[in-house]
């Protein structure tokens, strides 16, 4: 598992979607999230999913690969379906037992909930599947550029993000090692109640923090040795370019957002 987080979920195919400017993809992320919350009818979801499906096709990533990302939130989906089924009591009762009633309204609502959560996860995964962490931080840095005038350290924040992402796999590996070392000395992490388990985590967390600080110290030296902060006029190897493909993507995204919003507002009666 540690091996997979290194790249985020990046799945390189070199498609049009991969080559889009990360800023466009970040905008797409916002649009997707707003759409997921605005979509109020099954028709709206049909449009959203059709759009998402065409993005998946364009990205040349195998659809099954994309679907795998839902696995992580499967538990949330199941819980939210059950809650909605049991506690939504409008509409005709289809089934009742003791205090539990399942209504057709509840069934419909639960269905929408599943579609909503799945859409959220699938669409945001499409962004991380098609762009590297560096691209995303570069994109964020560009978007935040205006904040420079408010003396906000935009570039430092971008570097902090990229280093944080870079160190996730390293620290996960380290955690594994510490857990094994403590187990070898007889520590147990899966017995006892919540309090006992939480206490058992301490011997893992403390060495992990100590080592993280030590790493930070060495990294700071390495940053200095590589002339970090040498000049205000820092350059970039990959200059972000806004292309026609980006413009098209922007227009399509805006259209998708508008249609969903119009359905939500009841202007389009679907």
């Amino acid at each position: 598992m540690t091996r997979n987080v290194a790249f985020g979920q990046y799945y390189p195919t070199g498609s049009v979607i991969h080559r889009l400017d990360p800023r466009t993809k970040l905008f797409a992320g916002v649009v997707f999230i707003v759409c997921a919350f605005l979509a109020s009818s099954y028709w709206a979801y049909l449009i959203c999913y059709a759009f998402l499906f065409s993005v998946v096709l364009l990205s040349k990533i195998p659809p099954l690969q994309v679907l795998k990302t839902v696995k992580a939130v499967l538990a949330i989906v199941v819980v939210s379906v059950l809650i909605n089924l049991f506690f939504y009591d409008e509409g005709t009762v289809l089934f009742s037992w003791w205090k539990i009633k399942i209504t057709d309204g509840g069934l419909l609502y639960a269905g929408k909930m599943v579609l909503r959560i799945m859409f959220l996860v699938l669409s945001t995964s499409m962004i991380t599947l098609t762009s590297t962490p560096t691209e995303l931080t570069d994109g964020l840095e560009k978007i935040m550029t205006p904040l420079k005038y408010l003396r906000f350290p935009v570039h430092d924040v971008a570097i902090i993000m990229s280093i944080a992402l870079r160190f996730i796999p390293t620290l996960m590996e380290e955690t594994d090692k510490i857990i094994m070392a403590q187990k070898a000395r007889g520590a147990s992490f899966d017995h006892g109640g919540i309090v006992a388990r939480a206490k058992a985590m301490l011997p893992i967390l403390i060495p992990l923090f100590v080592s993280a600080f030590r790493r930070a110290d060495e990294l700071a030296l390495a940053l200095d040795a590589r002339c970090y902060n040498a000049t205000e006029a820092r350059t970039k190897m990959k200059v972000l370019r806004f292309t026609w493909a980006d413009l098209t993507a922007f227009l399509v995204l805006t259209a998708c957002l508008t249609i969903t919003a119009l359905i939500y507002a009841g202007v389009i009666p679907l």
Binding site: A6, S162, R166, T235, M237
Partner: protein
């Protein structure tokens, strides 16, 4: 570029020069002198090895040489510019590239080419030139095929070669390796050493290799031996490894070939000091 003609005599200019440098760490209990009165210089294309056991001040000295630490006394200068000049410090650091011990703690990006680009990006080199430098640096350490990959999946030796490439992209004139092989397995160590020797021979890169492995010093042009913050001896590998008392005094361990050679000469079989395995084999073969 750094060869000067003075009164008709061509002299190679020193890249790096340290004169009577001392450094003291300050703490609540007072000052601890980690480096005492050290003078050394590194010339173009030289391969210098700095030997010393743990805690003798090797790493402190290394950090003094590119201005990560500033000397308490004395001066360190790079092409004549002292490291105490705050305006020139980044120029100095780009000329004196430094590779550290733990490869995991010196990569900043999740993708190899982005990590290599970090140095030149800081220096304000333009995009196309950076891209060329990244390719050139990866080529020099033999890792070009991994350009788009992630450092996380590499072996220790490969990670350290990436760290070397990321320094090379700043176009340094001297490469300081501060115990860069200490955390590697024997194969990784060999990989890194081969890379460094290749850079030294083919690209005429001056190298200061800091280590406590004696065998890494065998092919050096010059060896410096450090003990309790001082450079106690300077000389060719033959001079250093031939002086068994010095080696013992500095708590160093002779390479196995030297040990056997020494034992044989003690018993009157050999007359010369043998450094490498090959020399030893040859000398032993000549016996009969």
């Amino acid at each position: 570029m750094h060869i000067f003609k003075k009164n008709g005599i061509i002299s190679i200019m020193k890249i790096l020069n340290a004169e009577n440098v001392s450094y003291a760490y300050k703490s609540e209990e007072g000052e601890t002198l980690a480096v005492r009165n050290v003078s050394l210089s590194i010339e173009q294309g030289e391969f210098v090895v700095l030997l010393g056991h743990n805690g003798c001040g090797k790493s402190t000295l290394a950090k003094l040489l590119n201005g990560l630490l500033l000397p308490t006394e004395g001066t360190v200068s790079v092409y004549g510019t002292p490291t105490t000049d705050p305006k020139k410090i980044y120029e100095i650091r780009s000329k004196v590239g430094m590779v550290f011990q733990n490869p995991d703690n010196q990569t900043v990006a999740s993708i190899i080419e982005d990590d290599i680009a970090f140095g030149p990006e800081n220096l304000g080199v333009n995009g196309e030139e950076i891209s060329r430098r990244v390719e050139e640096a990866l080529e020099a350490v033999g890792m070009l095929a991994y350009r788009k990959g992630t450092p996380f999946k590499l072996s220790g030796g490969q990670k350290q070669r990436i760290a070397i490439a990321s320094v090379l992209a700043m176009h340094p004139d001297v490469l300081i390796l501060d115990e860069s092989t200490a955390m590697l397995d024997p194969c990784g160590r060999q990989e890194v050493l081969d890379t460094v020797r290749h850079l030294n021979r083919e690209k005429n890169m001056a190298v200061l290799l800091i280590t406590h492995y004696m065998d890494e010093a065998l092919s050096a042009d010059r060896i410096l031996v450090m003990e309790q913050g001082e450079i106690v001896r300077m000389g060719s590998p033959k001079e250093i490894f031939g002086d068994i008392n010095l080696i013992k005094e500095c708590k160093l361990e002779l390479p196995i070939s030297c040990k056997i050679g020494y034992a044989l000469s003690q018993n009157g079989f050999l007359t010369d000091t043998c450094l490498t395995d090959e020399e030893l084999v040859e000398a032993v073969c000549r016996l009969s």
